[in-house]
Symmetry: C2
Subunit: 452 residues, 2 copies
């Protein structure tokens, strides 16, 4: 790793970072951010009426929740952020990013919505999001895969800081306050990967959003935290990863390329871990070739070393664990041609799966790939003695096979059930330079009462 | 370290911990807990009217705050916990414990007060506190000094889990919910030591209390997190410290002796870091022998290796940094015979100190001591050519030189300014088996309006 110091030698790491965050980003990146925005709304709407979400909402004493939530008289912005993050990540349907190894929108957008006031512009929201993704990706690039392999849930760990950074930019905080904000985000950053497969995982996303908002509220009073939380000697990187972090390392490629375009955001079709997306596409290919589960005597899942780390469960017991099991996904696809989203919500997986699962083995024999790729190969040995294989590196929804804006708009339209008139208004708003986030929320909110 | 498995081999680490937390503790330990309770109230009352605390209180839109706070219509229990913790730790006047290397009451009692309902008994509060201290101490015994030396603020890290454990016991949660509660505490546990010297440090204490309450609210909805957060293979200990934790290691000496009595709680006289308490007493001894700052040509502060780790600032710039500077404390004592509490609040230390400070050096030449001791020696070289030394290992306020109950009651009386009638009632309440925490709070609260 070559390092150019960029005349920053007299600045602290945190000062360098703050300068980077204030950089204006290029207009074309806004298109990527808008796609993530549409997908976030779709996912939250798809999830918000589930009993787990509604249980949480009622535990806060709110009757009707117009998602995404913002702080209001009957709901603190911390609680709004937490509920947004929990909901956005609950089905594991939200976007993912490879350097970050986490879920950007669930933490960053959940935070931004929670603190939105009537004046806040959609364009500022999207720009702040791009910078949050940038921080998440660049920090992830420095820290991963070690951080994830150590058992940290990077969505919580790095996500808290990314969400706080985006919030600071959204609200145009002055430098000193932004440094305090980042400091309080760093001191709150946490999250364990063992929560995957339980409600603790979406909790972690909510936690990160909540913590960013908490830090913001604290800084607004003028109280200051340590102003160089990323100090090489004893800052956050040193404590969590033993790394002598140098701000110049990320300065030299900040937004070059932007993390939102390369490695970019992965957008999902189904509620399972993004690490299974290539395997899912490979299984579909096999099904289309006529392969059926009952004819397989042996199924081999091939990954590069560490490529199945996030797929924690070979023998999932619950649907939630099944989100992190390529075995569970392959079984569904080879049986029925596709997964059933509701199978990821069952309390107990079918006995039929547990029996069939014994035919599957994993192996880590693929060569290591670029971070933008997620190669997965499936070999099936059939009763007739034949063998078939399928391999996918860039699944549908990956940055290389991205959904189009029109596809994402269509997905959202399926969820929000707006009147045609409001839908036209909504699409028009998106194109207007001065559109506010509150205007968007108003159009979505109008349907809450009707929808339930 | 010898380990007896205690027939627990079939239980998970978290199940072992839950069993330990449910153990009834001995009555005499309640006396230690009551002392901590009195000191907590004293410290919170001494701090609650400071501008920083009141700024935070008003930022939450509350007009009158009857400390310690509990969740109420206009204040979520998370916010109450945060404000309690921030206030209790703000002056660094709160108690400390050597294994934990942190501040038990600021996190645990702040949490318990925040969720107190009219029915909750003081005795249950104190028992829960004892168990929280026990977890903090035993976890600290496993993790420190490595955790602190790595830059973690153990008050935040271990404190979150200790506060959650106490909360679970206080509220008599069933085993499954208690496991989820501990899991969500572990996934939220965080805190950086670099915040020492800024408002980020009391923020960390507030954060730990807030996170414990957040976890509790979440679990109350019935939502579950991973049920073995302390799994040896990939649980919290593994991720944060690379340790293959075995629950049996802490089971064999759980409450034998109890952490609240050995190493016990240190209670402070002045608002500086407990790592400076021995040095402070040694400086006072030198002053009493007639040594004066102006006569010293050289001052040597002797510690064991690592003994001055928490005393981060040799040349503090602000009063807040001066809380973590034995240099700053020794200068005050050798000038004026004692420290001035307000000197730890100034925005800039006096130029006079900065000049005199150059005469001071540190050395780590003392032998390592028992964890219960904190040896500090001071050598002064005088203008007349003479040399004097003083050494203290167990300062006033340490468990070995503990304040008496009557002294702590007197300190509290100085703060709360109750009427004599209410004070007699207060003391009577403390002795009653069925006294509730709400009754105590009511007596304190009555004075808020009058006092301000």
């Amino acid at each position: 790793m070559t390092v150019n110091v960029l005349n920053n030698s007299e600045k602290t790491n945190t000062e360098i970072l703050v300068d980077l965050l204030y950089r204006k980003v290029e207009g074309r990146l806004l298109e990527d951010a808008e796609k993530a925005f549409l997908n976030y709304l779709t996912v939250v709407w798809q999830t918000k009426d589930l009993p787990e979400v509604q249980d949480l909402v009622s535990s806060y004493g709110i009757k009707r929740a117009g998602f995404p939530l913002k702080g209001a008289e009957n709901l603190t912005p911390e609680r709004a952020a937490f509920l947004n993050g929990f909901t956005a990540h609950f089905l594991d349907l939200d976007d993912a990013q490879a350097h970050f190894r986490g879920h950007p929108s669930a933490v960053i957008m959940s935070t931004l919505f929670a603190v939105t006031t009537p004046e806040d512009k959609l364009e500022d929201f999207l720009w702040a999001f791009i910078q949050g993704v940038e921080l998440a990706g660049k920090f992830g690039w420095v820290l991963n895969p070690a951080m994830a392999l150590q058992g940290w849930h990077t969505t919580g760990m790095i996500g808290t800081i990314a969400a706080a950074a985006a919030l600071g930019i959204y609200k145009k905080l002055p430098g000193q306050q932004l440094k305090s904000l980042l400091s309080l985000a760093a001191t709150q950053a946490s999250g364990l990967q063992i929560e995957a497969g339980s409600n603790g995982k979406p909790f972690n996303a909510g936690m990160a959003a909540r913590d960013a908002v908490n830090a913001y509220l604290f800084c607004q009073t003028g109280l200051q935290a340590d102003l160089d939380p990323f100090s090489a000697k004893h800052g956050w990187f040193k404590t969590v990863a033993g790394i002598d972090f140098q701000g110049a390392v990320i300065a030299e490629n900040w937004l070059k390329p932007a993390e939102i375009e390369d490695p970019g955001l992965w957008i999902k079709q189904h509620p399972f871990c993004s690490a299974a997306m290539s395997g899912y596409d490979a299984a579909k290919e096999l099904y289309q070739r006529g392969i059926r589960a009952r004819e397989c005597t042996r199924v081999i899942l091939h990954f590069p070393a560490g490529g199945d780390h996030a797929l924690r469960f070979k023998q999932p017991r619950t649907g939630k664990e099944g989100k992190f099991s390529l075995e569970y996904i392959v079984w569904q696809v080879l049986n029925d041609g596709d997964v059933h989203d509701q199978y990821f919500a069952v309390a107990k997986v079918k006995a039929e799966f547990s029996k069939w699962q014994k035919r599957i083995v994993r192996t880590n024999d693929l060569p290591l790939a670029e971070i933008t790729a997620r190669p997965t190969k499936i070999t099936v040995e059939l009763k007739n003695g034949q063998t078939e294989t399928a391999m996918v590196s860039f699944p549908l929804g990956s940055a290389q096979q991205a959904f189009k804006r029109t596809e994402l708009l269509w997905k959202l339209r399926q969820q929000v059930l707006m009147s045609d008139h409001n839908w036209q208004q909504f699409k028009l708003l998106l194109t207007r330079k001065n559109c506010t986030v509150a205007q968007i929320l108003q159009l979505l909110k109008d349907r809450v009462g009707v929808n339930k």
